[in-house]
Symmetry: none
Subunit: 408 residues, 2 copies
Amino acid sequence: MFLEKKAILVIVDGLGDRVAREGKTPLQLTKKPNLDELAREGSVGLMNALGPGVIPGSDTSHLAILGYEPSIYYKGRGPLEALGVGINLKEGDVAFRCNFATVDEELKIIDRRAGRLKDEGKELAKSLQGLKIEGIEVIFASSTEHRGVLVLRGDGLSSDISDTDPHTSENVFVLESKPLNPGKETKKTAKIVNEVVKKSKDILSSHPINKQREKEGKLPANIILTRGAGAYQKVESLKDRYGFNSCCIAGAALYKGVAIYVGMEVLEVPGATGRIDTDIEAKAFAAKEALKKFDFVFIHIKGTDSASHDGNLKDKILMIEKVDKLVNLLKKEDAYLIVTADHSTPVSIKRHSSDSVPLLIYGGNIRKDKVKFFDEISASSGCLGHLTGIQLNKVIIDLMGCGHIVGS
Amino acid sequence: MFLEKKAILVIVDGLGDRVAREGKTPLQLTKKPNLDELAREGSVGLMNALGPGVIPGSDTSHLAILGYEPSIYYKGRGPLEALGVGINLKEGDVAFRCNFATVDEELKIIDRRAGRLKDEGKELAKSLQGLKIEGIEVIFASSTEHRGVLVLRGDGLSSDISDTDPHTSENVFVLESKPLNPGKETKKTAKIVNEVVKKSKDILSSHPINKQREKEGKLPANIILTRGAGAYQKVESLKDRYGFNSCCIAGAALYKGVAIYVGMEVLEVPGATGRIDTDIEAKAFAAKEALKKFDFVFIHIKGTDSASHDGNLKDKILMIEKVDKLVNLLKKEDAYLIVTADHSTPVSIKRHSSDSVPLLIYGGNIRKDKVKFFDEISASSGCLGHLTGIQLNKVIIDLMGCGHIVGS
């Protein structure tokens, strides 16, 4: 590898949008002089991480933008979440995204999120450690609020089983995990998962924290629900592929997990919360420091997506202003600065959509097109055209000088 | 076939660029009234011969633009170079791109280009003729300067072997060619190649030309190094596919080779050197004459790429001015005039890059979009959008009236 220039990739989660007010998108409504300056001085375009018309998940779109074709490298959300909370996965582990939930004695769902826990998850998780079922090791870790991760470790497991989480709280019961193919591995794994869920009910129901919650009139976190099963598979790292060192600055577990999956080092930045209160200066400072050691720095901003899911235009605008501050703090670094989103989350519909997202690349001798503003509409006349996530990755790798010629 | 209109395709090698000076690309910096006129009067767009983010070789990108999907039709550079220097390849021949090089007695590389030969290659090549090893015929031809081509002819050969050229002159030895798969063909071919390289050392070391060079203090061209092995396979010609007659006007061997590969007639134009001193009027005159006999005329311009590889902005601008003169001499012909590049070679990085290239199509009743200048930035708002090489080929074939409807 001969690195020509380092790069900072800022992925602003759920940034893309539709008309939100006065015929304008949130990006068009926000005062963001620095993002506009980078757009004016650099190359601009549109991107659909998984191609036009496809609604991306955050996990699949990040994989694509980092150069890992999701149809090959995406094995479910479970393993990425597990890596993100710091579990050292082994090849063949089957991992699940979990919720702490509240159920009644008939296992009818009362609240899928157990009244959104605060910090009790960590203590509750401890009580679920050390289980072993049919020789399979059961590992459980809590994440933020009501979230957690379950990992099954041992021989003969399969991720091809159904969720126990019914994905709604309305008049439904905990589901039984079922094998999705006739092999003996699926049968075995589904059986163990059902056992784990049942045991979690027994253990958690009598846990002092839940006794206390009930005393306070709160919902007890008396069961875990599983979903997003995935078998972990080690993949070649960015370093193996391109020869450069990379790191990740993110608040939320999933993005750290994606980063670890592709071999990035995850930097812990105090104040990077993955929420709207995230400390943007701390993130910028960490990125500047990281550039001394790493060639590729990936910064994830979560607040825009959370605001969008809540339909909160005001908070989305606030988060865009924070991103504007971030790029201002980073624009003088000797590195390409790339700003884009994983997908659109229009505040008007409060969900991911297939709408394209704007993309800007600033730095070095990059072409300076005629786009003057960083928003979905201005970006459509940019010189980068309309890219997929995989294509954007190739563009970045080539800019850094780490690509290879096809032919001679 | 019902030909509606002839076409001239001008491929300006390595034309695309990034910012070179004053925020502008070389195309933006060059006065080129004729190219701008064609852009103003015709349709404009951007192209990535092998798709966005992919860094094209000159061979693969030319194949794509001519309608030959590289993943199917590209078999290494060797056969294309061999065809280009006039060797009449037979199915199954294995061809190599070669360098005359200088080595010491231990086969350590002194200069991979033997001090860049002038015209001695032709005479040296003669001494390597007539070899036969294990029943395999050895054919060798020189090309420009230190360049040459080796062809092995006979049964049971394979191109799946490694290079003997170490691709650098720095403290390395001639490599041994090795089989890249366990078949007996690869083993046999690698053995013969190693034998040929060894014999070349014996023959060339004692050649009078080299004795003379050494007397003059020059490096002797005392060995040949092989790379880019490829097995020749006859492919259907443009004539077979579309029914029209085509020809090529190019200076450099590779492009003539590509043209011959797809069934074009190569016109020898005195003064078409493939260098910056190429006689652009001679090329234009030859193209005009060719239009009397051929339906499709492909003109290759090499100087822009050479200037870019040297990081020489002044020469790149000079070559663009020559292209401007060329299109001025051709714009009145009764044929579409298509101008584009195979890939970008930014002068700032002196290598191929994945940056898109501008594309213009002029003539007939083609749509007249709002683009006023022929450059990378203006082209991004052209009505042709963003094409791949294969897509551009289809557009040209349809304009000529030689496409077919898919469906009815």
